[in-house]
Amino acid sequence: MKKLLGITLGIMTALGGFVDLGQIVFTMQAGAVFGYRMLWAIVLGTLGIIVYMEMCGRIAVVVGQPVFTIVRKRLGYRLGLLTLIASNLLNLITCAAELGGIAIVLHLLTGWPEKLLLIVSSLLLGVIVLILRFKWIERTFGLSGIVMVIFAVSAMRMRPNWSQAAHGLLPLAGGPSTSNSGSLYAFFAVGIFSALLMPYEVHFYSSGAIEEHWKPKDLGENFMVAALGSVLGSVLTVALLFLGAIVFLPNHIYPELLSTTILASALPMAQRGLLLALLGVLATLAGAAIETALSGGYNLCQFFGLPWGKTEPPAKVRIFTITWVGMMLAALVIAASGVKALTLVNISVIFGMVVLPFTYYPILRVAEDKKVMGKYVNSKFGTALGGLFLLLITAAAIAAIPLMIVTHSGQP
């Protein structure tokens, strides 16, 4: 049972990264424009995050060093500091977007004023994180996020076209007959791939492994947790793509609202299905908001060598506590300023893309270093696979911003 509950770290990490506000809407948009053709990008991104989650978990267990300690050591102070600033800006903006998304879902659930819900839910979330110990945070939000499976049930009930889905496993272009369909295809492929590898996933996962006091004997579990959590997140992402392909593509709808994506999931079901979809989205958005706020605290303290940890009493890790509480309050101020949650997501994607190579490169370097890792060093195959994904990540990072400009953020 304890091992089973250990998986919740992987589930919370993956759900927070895979099916956060931006990803829910973005993946459905990809399905609405290209049908099943983006399936390969989800598979590729899932493999990539499993490889790197396992690697950073292994480093955390063997060396006891989380991601930002490694970033500083391998990139040096200046580049490391730039990576820290960009990563925490990304965390802040993403956290603000998730808080905005939570208010939207609560508004759809209760009909109460959105601004009031934003303030109350953000403060409540902060109190929950402050009170709960790390393992209860991951268990609560990891397990409640599983309600999102309703999206997969919904997609299955709408009978996907499996033959077209099988074709989607190959990266073949095609889709709308617009003048920019090639760049649009590339934009969605890069966006889906990169979003599955968002840096805060590895920040949170490696810190979580240390919070949970994993030992080398838990390394088998590390792989299982990374793989199972990511596969669950991936299945839900595929379900979102399928719903986009089944509901929106034939009706020429380009979903631009969170409520539209929830409506799609509720189509084959009665009101109970709609409520479950709303609760599932609420749980994953809350998980993502916590993940990004805590990552902000983890990153800062790990970079400057300050004490950190959610398992420690707040008075013992003051800077850590002040940082994540500050992140959440700043995110609340941004969300309350009236900026649309989905606009914030678009901005966070830019930061995410830029930061990706600077996060994954140091992880690969340490994992392949025999002097540091000893007998737990990467196998040759593991290093080759990591290197291949790093190349893809770098290519995606370079291509992302020009593609975003050319396609007007993916407008078909």
């Binding site: 939207i104 508004h107 759809l108 659930l109 209760t110 009909g111 007959s177 617009t178 003048s179 509901v247 009706n251 020429h252 709808i253 380009y254 979903p255 631009e256 609202l257 409520s259 539209t260 929830i262 409506l263 509720a266 189509l267 079901m269 009665a270 009101q271 299905g273 709609l274 409520l275 709303l278 007007h408 407008q411 078909p412």
Partner: protein, 138 residues
Amino acid sequence: MYDKRTIRIVILFSMTMGILGCQQQSMSRRKARAQIKSTLSLSSETRIFIRQIHNGRLTESFIAGHTEYLKHLQSDLLSEMSKPAADEVADALTVAQKQLLALRDVFPNSTIGESEFRADESRLDDIDSNLNNILPRP
């Protein structure tokens, strides 16, 4: 009379302006097409939405909330369409704005009876047909 360098600069400048001019024109058409397609998308979404309400599959608070968000989206689109446009698409955009306003009448209540549902569907058919008629080619 003019040296070669001056002539080259004038030719290069004219070519650049020509390219920019063409781009500007095609951008306007592309933007208008995108806006009309967004209106069509909104209309299709409204159709699915009212069908779900008619079948009693949505909660009251979801209906109220989603209607509110759709109205925001409609207002954003309307203000985008109100910006100055190239002559070749100005008429089409005027028609599109009228359809967008007509869509407002279709925005639903928390319950929709059979006759109201049929009337709404027929209105949406008209809106879709009018929008498809003015959609500029890619």
